[in-house]
């Protein structure tokens, strides 16, 4: 998405450059035409331009209003029509309300007070800066009919189908290949059989193997070979047993199924939300913290559906369902736009878990050392499903401490110790290990 935006911008600027260079004369003509147009629209000020209205609506109104959905304020589609039909209120009233709703409420206006009470006395922000033209633009935008099921989205869903089809076609190709190989194998066996039969029929003697010593007997008699094989087998099994034992208790690649399918790829990758937005306690405490649901609701009060890219496996319906799960757990009534108070804890499955005998502090690494989260947690912004990237073994910790240089520059706290230690070790830059990052008691006590 991001890329397409950028490329659009780049394109448009390129085009503009080309246009200014090539067709200056034409430009003047166009400009006068546009001027004429704007003049004519200002003559018919009440008409309003829905396109302009949309921009104005999105910058000024959309934080509290949606066209078809109750948010902080009421849904606004056909608001002008509804007001004049149901309550006999004209545009003058609407303009007064938009520019300063508090004054309308104070003046004792019936409908104004009714709406004010209905929305728990939340006063609408005043917009004195909106001109008559702006307001008629916005109202023109709200007066548009709801779009019918977009052909573009249908095409997109069809595209999803195609993607699924290509997935199956891949499987088909693989299956066909496997079948081919099987056929080949059968054919070979058959050919061999027929050749043997020919040989028998023509009386050609296929030279039988000389019945000498069987291979294994010869092998046993050669003691040197037996010794070498034994050593080889011992070493090989030792290698595999060591490998097996060393991975016991290591959860690298652990990827549990979570109660809510939270995609780090969408949140941290596509939308570029900082890790510390949700995991805020990583800055200041030992644990990085699983965000409480109110942090999710900071955005998901407004973001009630998924509008990004989808695949066959992760469709829009799937993601929307996950948002519904969040609403259920947080006790958020999306239709009424308020909390019901009935909450259920989400039982997230913990992935990164150090053994009890090792101490690790996030704030020491995140805030003091300034290490990127990705150094240990891997490319989280690309993970659709979160998994453990690093082995989290002691060797892995120590390795990093040996290699990482401490950022002592411009840090008064480290000045003295840096001077002393760099004299002691005779080095310019200190690693975490030289600062005492290998002492047992730092992590085990």
């Amino acid at each position: 998405m991001k890329k397409s935006y950028q490329s659009l911008e780049v394109n448009s600027t390129n085009n503009m450059e080309q246009v200014t260079r090539r067709t200056l004369g034409k430009n003047i003509l166009q400009l006068s035409f546009i001027l004429l147009l704007t003049l004519s629209t200002s003559l018919f000020a009440q008409e309003g331009d829905p396109a302009k209205g949309k921009t104005l609506f999105n910058t000024n109104c959309a934080s509290c209003h949606n066209l078809d959905r109750k948010m902080t304020g009421p849904a606004l589609r056909h608001v002008e029509q509804r007001l004049s039909d149901d309550h006999g209120l004209d545009r003058e009233w609407l303009s007064a309300w938009i520019r300063n709703s508090a004054a309308v409420v104070k003046s004792g206006d019936d409908y104004g007070n009714k709406i004010f009470d209905e929305y728990n006395g939340t006063a609408m922000t005043a917009f004195p800066q909106l001109s008559d033209q702006d307001i008629s633009d916005i109202l023109a935008y709200t007066a548009q009919d709801a779009p019918k099921p977009d052909p573009a989205t249908e095409a997109a869903s069809a595209g999803g189908g195609q993607a699924a089809q290509s997935g199956t076609s891949n499987k088909l190709v693989l299956g066909a290949l496997a079948l081919l190989f099987a056929l080949l194998a059968v054919a070979l066996i058959l050919v061999r059989k027929t050749l043997n039969r020919f040989a028998e029929a023509k009386g050609v003697e296929v030279p039988e193997d000389q019945k000498g010593l069987p291979l294994w007997k010869a092998f046993v008699q050669n003691q040197f070979l037996v010794l070498v094989t034994c050593i080889f087998l011992l070493l090989a099994s030792g290698y595999f047993v060591y490998g097996y034992l060393m991975q016991v208790g290591v959860d690298q690649g652990y990827q549990p199924v979570q109660p809510i399918h939270f995609s780090h790829k969408i949140h941290a990758g596509d939308n570029g939300i900082d890790c510390k937005y949700c995991h805020s306690s990583a800055r200041v405490s030992k644990t990085s913290g699983i965000p409480s649901l109110n942090v999710c609701m900071n955005c998901h009060k407004s973001v009630y559906e998924y509008k990004g890219e989808t695949t066959a496996e992760y469709s829009k319906e799937f993601y929307d369902g996950e948002i519904k799960k969040l609403y259920a757990a947080a006790g958020w009534d999306d239709a009424e736009q308020k909390y019901t108070g009935e909450t259920t804890p989400v039982k997230w499955v913990r992935i990164h878990n150090l053994p009890d005998f090792a101490y690790f502090n996030h704030s020491q690494h995140v805030t003091v050392a300034g290490i990127e989260c990705q150094t240990c947690h891997g490319p989280v912004e690309e993970m659709e499903i979160m998994y453990q990237h690093a082995p989290l073994t002691m060797g892995w910790c120590i390795n990093c401490h040996r290699e990482t240089e401490v950022k002592v520059k411009d840090n008064a706290y480290y000045e003295k110790i840096h001077a002393e230690l760099s004299k002691k070790y005779g080095v310019e830059k200190l690693t975490a290990a030289q600062m005492g990052g290998l002492e047992c008691g730092k992590c085990h006590y």
Binding site: M71, V248, G253, N271, S302
Partner: protein, 192 residues
């Protein structure tokens, strides 16, 4: 013919071995944690963060402070989460930080994490989520109708406003005032 039979036998043995190996390998599943040598050295005796615990009535380790108590060093915020409270904060609440305590670099760091994603790193209401049309209608800080002050910004961070949620649990009191200082700086820049 005998030869072929022998070969077939060997083939069966080899495929059996391969099958066994596949079965052994397939036992390792990424959705399950690995074995541990001595679980009693790995698993904490004390409560782990966010763990379940039968010691509490609601079965959770994470508990709210007892009613009527505050953590040490915590300053309660007296102004209420109402429209009157907002107006009161807007008119009368001022930052407890003096000019030497204000650290705009820290304010910027926190602002970029928690606010910039919607409000834009310049405070013009053009954050990444707005550009991607996920969340709309974020006002610019120099919006005349709102005319924000340090007090109103603090109140909004503490309680949230309209579609914006509370950020009181993500940044502490001092950090909130640092962010407020940075927001007022951005507002001054926008109004230039």
């Amino acid at each position: 013919m005998k030869n072929i039979k022998l070969q077939m036998k060997g083939l069966i043995k080899i495929s059996l071995l391969a099958f066994l190996m596949v079965v052994v390998v397939a036992c390792k599943k990424d959705t399950r944690p690995n074995y541990q040598f001595m679980p009693n050295m790995y698993e904490s005796v004390g409560y782990e963060t966010y763990s379940e615990s039968a010691a509490f009535r609601n079965g959770k380790e994470g508990q709210l402070p007892a009613e009527g108590t505050i953590p040490r060093g915590f300053k309660p915020f007296d102004i209420e989460n109402t429209i009157e409270g907002y107006q009161l904060a807007k008119d009368s609440l001022n930052s407890p930080l003096d000019s030497t305590q204000i650290d705009l670099a820290k304010g910027k760091e926190l602002y970029d994490i928690y606010c910039g994603i919607c409000h834009g790193n310049k405070g013009d209401g053009q954050g990444n989520l707005v550009k991607r049309e996920k969340i709309l209608g974020i006002p610019s800080y120099d919006d005349a109708g709102r005319a924000i002050t340090a007090g109103s910004v603090y109140h909004t961070i503490y309680y949230g406003k309209n579609a914006m949620g509370s950020y009181a649990n993500q940044i502490n009191e001092e950090e909130r005032w640092q962010v407020v200082a940075y927001v007022m700086e951005l507002k001054a820049k926008l109004e230039k």
